[in-house]
Symmetry: C2
Subunit: 559 residues, 2 copies
């Protein structure tokens, strides 16, 4: 690591924004350069607070408000020797003079600050749809500590019986869960056809199911067009949906990158309206870097440009910019978009390319689903996990993965994210030597199983059908359910006949070799063997991946 003491003695780095990326950048830069003058300017009253923890203080799951304040301006200054200025806004950048104009939020006093390098980490602001009533005092957003304090005060003071959450992304669903924990009735209204639009539909369905089981109403494909006062309550009006009588509204329809400052300074914006940066996270001005939610990033797998308003990438971008300012040669490889959400007892997660995006991009791809156990099924506490792999049919390269379940989803998605980052093929997943003891996994981990199924598909040994292709099957296909008679009696796919797997070999003469067969079982495992038996006896057969469980979860209300 090359230090440039002569230079650095005089270097002044101004960082705009003191949360996530900004704070990481300041801390890392100090480690690299003890002599730089580092000034971190934050519009709000807090720096480096636990943004992602805010919903959990609404319920008391996170008991102490102060535990959300990871660093205070004072502690950060003492530790890192960074000049932290909260309640201070950067209102203008003079790129020629290399100065920024500061405004004291309380007093409106102005001052000017010179910089050698400027790092923009302005974040994003909650989007408020331009509908009547959005400005009512009972309508909240949740982005920072003051927002949280306001919602909490309203819950304590007004004791709302019902809250409407508009938007079913991370914040919307986490707020819904935590308000339900408080004993408040919650309705979530989502414009899209599913919750969590970054997840493929069956993954989102598992979250909707969790909401329903815990008494949270979710209205998808429903657009709020007005919020009206109705006596002491509110009426949330929707297009094509019911009017929801409620006491308090939390708007969580997404965020918009805070680009006003960058725009006013004539920095180049990207096609999606965020700050454009190169692979060193420099803006169109080489002395100005930008990181975090306001920046357009290039997805490592999809090559798509877009926003990735997540804490992990912001943190890594902050470190990387510090490294570059500190004289190290680094480039940003782009995020994989790995993300995870817990809603009540259910977890869904994704990494890399989704099936939905592969379809929209018209990319050649295949999809495998498996269902497995979080750990050895004979050891207490084992939970079902459903995983999917999106992979390249030409070389078997893993492009994306998603999963839902309760315990152990995070582990498998992290392993799959690592595999994607390494450019692994599905064959390599099958061979991964993962840690096994009964409390943690099975001798064949679900990730190994996923790799084996995908590899079998590639080898042509395992003809399959996806849950979302079942509805398109014509009458010329024979559906065979190979579960036990008891399982079959409890519910099956409409039209399926029952031939239990262990009787299949002796009952082959009940099937017609001229009629294509689609097999279903509980989770896809018995179906695989059934298909292998049928293929080798001259039948045309395909296995419904994920079986009846995945199909019924994913199709859900559409049945």
């Amino acid at each position: 690591m090359t230090q440039h003491p002569e230079e650095s003695k005089h270097r002044t780095v101004v960082i705009v924004g003191g949360v996530a990326g900004g704070a990481s950048c300041a801390a890392r830069l100090r480690r690299l350069d003890e002599n730089a003058q580092i000034i971190m300017v934050e519009r709000g009253p807090h720096i480096s607070f636990a943004n992602c923890g805010l919903p959990y203080h609404l319920s008391g799951v996170i008991e102490e408000r102060d535990s959300l304040l990871v660093q205070t301006p004072e502690s950060f200054k003492a530790r890192y020797g960074v000049d932290v200025r909260v309640l201070t806004e950067v209102v203008d950048i003079d790129r020629d003079a290399k100065t920024v104009e500061l405004r004291d939020v309380d007093t409106d006093a102005r001052s000017t600050l010179a910089y050698d390098q400027l790092v923009l980490s302005p974040g994003a602001t909650p989007f408020i749809p331009p509908i009547p009533g959005a400005d009512l005092p009972q309508v909240h957003v949740l982005r920072n500590i003051p927002d949280m304090d306001r919602i909490l005060a309203a819950c304590n003071d007004e004791q709302p019986a019902h809250v409407t959450v508009v938007g079913a992304g991370f914040i919307g669903l986490e707020v819904a869960e935590n308000l339900e924990h408080r004993g408040i009735d919650v309705t979530v209204v989502e414009m899209a056809a599913q919750v969590m639009p970054n997840l493929d539909r069956e993954m989102a369905a598992a979250l909707s199911d969790a909401c329903a089981r815990h008494g949270v109403e979710v209205l998808t494909s429903t657009r709020v067009n007005a919020i009206e006062e109705d006596g002491e309550r509110l009426a949330v009006q929707t297009l094509d949906g019911p009017t929801v009588a409620t006491d308090l509204v939390v708007m969580a329809v997404g965020v918009r990158p805070a680009v006003e400052l960058a725009k006013a300074a004539d920095l180049t914006l990207g096609e999606r309206g965020g700050i454009r940066v190169d692979e060193t996270l420099r803006t169109s001005d080489p002395d100005i870097f930008a990181i975090g939610d306001a920046v357009e990033v290039t997805h490592r797998v999809t090559g798509q440009t877009g926003f990735m308003p997540l804490a992990g990438p912001a943190n890594r971008q902050g470190r990387l910019v510090a490294d570059i300012i500190g004289g190290l040669e680094r480039t940003y490889g782009g995020p994989l978009g790995t993300s995870i959400i817990k809603v009540f007892d259910t977890v869904s997660a994704c990494t890399g390319m989704s099936e939905g995006l592969a379809k929209r991009l018209d990319l050649d791809h295949r999809v495998a689903w498996i269902s497995g156990s979080s750990h050895a099924s004979y050891f207490p506490g084992a939970e079902n996990i459903t995983l999917k792999a999106i992979f390249d049919p030409t070389d078997g390269k893993l492009l994306g993965a998603q999963g839902y379940g309760r315990d152990g989803v995070d582990k498998r998605i992290d392993v799959l994210a690592t595999a994607i980052a390494a450019g692994m093929t599905v064959d390599a997943l099958e061979e991964l030597d993962l840690a096994y003891a009964p409390p943690f996994s099975s001798a064949k981990d679900p990730v190994n199983h996923l790799g084996a199924v995908a590899a079998g598909m590639l080898a042509g040994a395992h003809p399959t059908i996806a849950w979302n292709e079942v509805a398109e099957l014509g009458d010329d296909v024979k559906l065979v359910d190979v579960r036990t008679e008891k399982e079959y009696a409890a519910g099956t796919i409409p039209g399926a006949v029952n031939i239990p797997l262990d009787n299949l070999r002796e009952r082959l003469d009940e099937l017609d070799r001229d009629v294509p067969i689609v097999i279903n079982c509980k989770r896809g495992k018995r179906g695989y063997l059934a298909v292998r038996i049928l293929l080798q006896h001259g039948f045309e057969a395909r296995n419904l991946l994920g079986g009846y469980c995945l199909w019924s979860m994913a199709v859900g209300d559409d049945r």
Copy 2:
């Protein structure tokens, strides 16, 4: 996938051993070849039982004995059409005639069976040290269901107040934990200087600590040389240790590969005495394959030949041999040796090359340790995790990783195992885009942190010292503890002076630039910043990785 129906119609595959690898092989082969005659011969009464679950039924953690019987001979036959012959021993192989001689264990009746391919999956047998008293009826082993039944019967009938477990490997420690759960006092006697000799010492120390905290006595560096009857009790005599008064002994000193059959058939054995196989898992006879605990494997990272008596590799080897017999082109890449153990509330795990082995092989390597949180520290239930990386100093390639903690160790070791399999460098670990939400991780996951520390070491930015180098420090080194006064007062490394990190910059004049400094803090994080400050002010300084916590855990009783 190429099918050879003409050939396969006549193919007879005999599999010797019906647990783990053998059963996996039979099931996979049936999927590939519906027409093969598959005969699975098992000496014991059960096939495909949950070997790794046995200790947990001793305590009732696994309540139902039957849940350990994953498949019965009948269910396996119905499902896979495999001719399963339990309580049947293969006593001889006639390689020229391609036949095996079977013996009925109950009746001693003999018969002959022809094979086209033979798969040896004989497993291993518990080693009983040749000491007086090892054959007493109160001395048990735990390898299979009848062994478990015997120990359970003895516990129920005799109500032992104290049990001695000889050997502190997987089975020994798991048996100790589960007997303690029953309310029995347990002493573990281990010949080596630490428990779990495949783990590096500090990882093993965490397990010893868990035993001590839960009232299980562990005697390391202690060799049992006799077991004597002493009235109604037993006296376990040790060399260089106490005599242990006990009621029951479980011998868990390791297993020996069951190679008698292979040896009698003149198949080549390896240098360690196991069955030698090539990369297609063929023995020296091309029609005879061997898998599982009896086989010598080549470690994927270390290149060392040895035994890997673990369920995961056995399972994958079984599948792979089935693939090869089924006509697929596959080779075995060797295991990484990934393994994990839970002892009470503590988990230790490893993958790839250990530090100990790197030292024994005199390989150029470096080691990084970090300590992090299983998930966001402000979210309930966060637990500390200590991770180490063993890496190549020339290219930064990850060679091995180990970890201990409570929650989330398994996830990080699986990510690191995947990274090793992919040939990743420590820099790449720093950039991994892992799934973050407060219940699962932090924006900077411990794996990212480990990668960052290792990368900083490689870049020369982070001079470090390991916990096991502290004892060798001479008087010419100044030890500085940068924790708070309160932390320092509660215990520190002997000789360390206290300068809290947040006061370091103003107290630099208390330190001598001519005296090398070693910094310690709680877990190594504050120490890193302290070292960065000191280096940039012209001091020579090194950071104690893992801090006081790792040092005091690892040094333990030696202090």
